[in-house]
């Protein structure tokens, strides 16, 4: 009930992001994944290995949590800016969330 129902997820997703975003960034350290440089870690030979393993679930969770967390943050800012348009902001933000969550799901599913 009330605003805390959504706002609580802002913090829960933040905790999840520490784990999953942290992991996602550590993957870009060349020494840890046996690559030559940071840009090397972005080549298909490395990246494609991450899909198709259990970590692709992690990537999907990361996409959902980061999208929720970031968009809900923007939603809060928009509510502060023009409180009278609250319903409009909510509609826009959740529409964007659904569209981008679908794109992310498609990416992970297609590369499984």
């Amino acid at each position: 009930m009330g605003a805390s129902r959504i706002q609580m997820w802002q913090y829960i997703t933040a905790i999840l992001l520490i784990v999953f975003l942290g992991g996602h960034l550590v993957e870009r350290l060349p020494w840890l994944v046996g690559a030559e440089s940071y840009h090397d870690t972005l080549r298909s030979s490395f990246v494609s290995k991450q899909y198709g393993s259990w970590w692709s679930i992690g990537l999907l969770i990361l996409a959902y949590t980061a999208l929720f967390h970031g968009l809900n943050g923007v939603r809060g800012i928009l509510h502060e800016w023009k409180p009278r348009l609250g319903t409009l902001w909510d509609a826009i933000i959740w529409a964007v969330f659904i569209v981008f969550a679908l794109i992310a799901t498609y990416t992970v599913a297609a590369l499984w």
Partner: protein
Amino acid sequence: MSKGRAKENRPGLLRASLNPWLVRVEDHPERLAFVLHRVTGVIIIAYLLLHIIVTNTPARAGWEAWDQLMEQFGTNIVNQVGEFIVAGSVLFHGMNGIRLLLAEFFGVCIGRPEKPKPPYIPPTYRACQRQLLYLIFAVWPILWVFAGLLIFGVF
């Protein structure tokens, strides 16, 4: 009573979100952290939306297209600078986010209620959130430079 209209006097979204010195108090890093947290948050969500579209490339057009794209991005200075800014943003937002989690969600590191006494510094500025913030401001540049070395291909 005087006639006429009262004048609104709110600085508004941009000035309040971007100017950490809107209220010119000294020794107040929390306000700077608020501005940085908000600005970095918006930078990261903008990046994330692009990122979700770009990482869709291999699913849409195959891995060759992806490798080509990464080759382009990796050699484009505008792109590298953008990545550098996003990296710095994530580092600050993440570290300060942990501090905000402790303060706002768990309600710790914010000081304890006490009877005000000289020199009248409110408990919240003597709590460990302040030390955490100093730590963040010390560690952040180091990690950011490190990220820059990676992004610009120094190692």
